[in-house]
């Protein structure tokens, strides 16, 4: 079932949660213990954040004995990274550059 953009929005709107997601996306699979060392919040809080990210389809967990390894699912972002946001951001950036150029040009 596709995840509604609003679920993704709220999952990523929290800076701590987003930092956890970005760390997983950058550094690969990690345990709650390792993530807690970086997150600046308690281990139960990290677990709660991971549960929200998992519900949003942004994180996957894998049991390995007594350890659970969490990994990012960047493809879970796809509903947000549609062409509207891609091209909308692209053209707004180019409008800024066009204005910069016009300010430098002679009449």
């Amino acid at each position: 079932m596709p995840i509604a953009p609003t679920v993704l929005f709220s999952a990523l709107a929290d800076p701590t949660r987003r930092a956890i997601f970005e760390r997983l996306a950058r550094d690969g699979a990690q345990t709650v213990r390792v993530l807690t060392g970086h997150a600046g919040v308690s281990q139960p809080a990290v677990s709660k954040h991971l549960a929200v990210l998992k519900l949003a389809g942004l994180v996957r967990d894998r049991r390995d004995g007594r350890q659970t390894h969490y990994s990012a699912q960047p493809q879970g972002l796809a509903p947000l990274l549609d062409w509207i946001s891609l091209y909308g951001a692209f053209w707004r950036d180019r409008f800024d550059r066009l204005e910069t150029l016009l300010n430098r040009m002679d009449q």
Binding site: L12, Q75, A89
Partner: protein, 146 residues
């Protein structure tokens, strides 16, 4: 409206710029000036002229856009196609970019419409490796306002 048109979408960006239509027209139609704000290109202001926009290749995209000049009304309107190139041409983007310049009190209203996005283009997820942190930063702004 045809069924095809009903199922496509457009992006519109519009801004009033404190410059004359003539000057903006030059920035939109002179190849060297276009490169300064948009991309490398071999544009010529001639209807029917086919050309490319070239960006650096990134994962999943060769960086090339195939275009053709479709309409020129000097200082008023410029239209070109904006299509995927090479291997990606058959299934990739097939869109039309229309620039409209309208003189107004504070200068010129510049309107860009890119039309013809189809639902299947939505999965165009390419090249976002370095781009998504910025989008995430924007999401925070958006959601804190809502």
């Amino acid at each position: 409206m045809t069924e095809l048109a009903a199922r496509t979408h457009s992006i519109v960006v519009e801004r009033v710029m404190p410059h004359s239509p003539d000057k903006i027209w030059r920035a939109l139609t002179q190849s060297a000036l276009i490169e300064a704000w948009l991309m490398k290109n071999d544009f010529q202001p001639v209807v029917g002229h086919t050309f490319n926009f070239r960006a650096s290749p990134i994962h999943g995209w060769n960086g090339v856009t195939d275009s053709e000049v479709l309409e020129i009304i000097p200082h008023r309107r410029l239209t070109y196609s904006w299509n995927a190139s090479g291997d990606q041409a058959p299934d990739g983007l097939k869109t039309i970019v229309t620039w409209t310049l309208t003189p107004c009190e504070n200068g010129t209203r510049v309107r860009m419409e890119q039309s013809g996005f189809r639902p299947q283009d939505e999965t165009g997820y390419r090249g976002m490796g370095g781009g998504w942190p910025r989008i995430l930063a924007r999401l925070e702004e958006v959601s804190s306002k809502s």
